[in-house]
Symmetry: C2
Subunit: 135 residues, 2 copies
DNA sequence: CTATTTGCAAACCCTTTGCAAAAAT
DNA sequence: ATTTTTGCAAAGGGTTTGCAAATAG
């Protein structure tokens, strides 16, 4: 299993609960804490919500997971394979992952030069009222 | 006063508390709910925190105020004169407003065309570890 | 005069914490 | 054997709500 290696690399113990959290986050669903909890409970009915919180936060600190802070919505979480941005639809609540494009990289470079800073993190959330999959 | 007109246009009553909320948000400080409350109390010591919440949320619904959802930080609010993006510094907690540039507009256009959507809102938050004003 | 808004306190999330038992290395 | 992690229940923090009194238009 890929996750076992990834955890070992960061010096984290591979408990069944932790692996389950990673597995849930690995699905392309961008779940909330609650949804991760509910998802895991189907296979591991004894996991506690507190454990989910602790693990997601730990994985976030280790840079393996990011928060997606959707306008007027609950916090969602995503397994971070590589940096990407999010397209969220207010009608069907779907979230699509998109790669950075050239324009966004240009934007970032110009900003870094003009302000004399190093951008550590660029959160981009594009919100639409309805998308192609919800009509 | 500008705010009185703006409120009237949206059919909202111009209570002293509401005007004070707008005045606080008009400062370039990107305050939290608590900070708005504390700021107003200096002049209007009887305002309640609940009233601040109610007003900020109402102004948000009416499109006069936006939330700024900073990674790992409290929610901040901003009087929305015209759309802009935010450069936040983790060291000094400052937030600088920046205008959209050509690259960002290109990015938005391309995304709209390729996905067949209309972007209703584009939240861009660039985070830096330290900025020019905090060394 | 009527509809909205305020302020208070209680209720309501969501999230974190302390700690003893369990599990991983 | 040592350190980390779990699960529980309680505490914490921010936000919302219900309602009577006050205020704006």
């Amino acid at each position: 299993m890929e996750f076992l290696t990834v955890l070992k690399e960061r010096g984290l113990k591979a408990t069944p609960q932790r692996v389950a959290v990673l597995r849930e986050l690995g699905k392309k669903t961008h779940p909330t804490m609650e949804e991760i909890y509910i998802g895991i409970r189907e296979e591991n009915p004894t996991i506690s919500l507190a454990t989910v919180y602790k693990n997601v936060n730990l994985l976030k600190e280790k840079g393996m997971v990011i928060e997606i802070n959707i306008p007027n919505g609950k916090m969602r979480y995503d397994y971070l394979a590589r940096p990407h941005i999010h397209l969220v639809c207010k009608s069907c609540n779907c979230i699509e992952d998109l790669d950075y494009d050239e324009n966004l990289l240009n934007f970032q470079n110009i900003l870094e030069k003009s302000k004399g800073v190093v951008i550590d993190r660029l959160d981009v959330i594009a919100s639409v009222e309805s998308c192609s999959s919800c009509k």
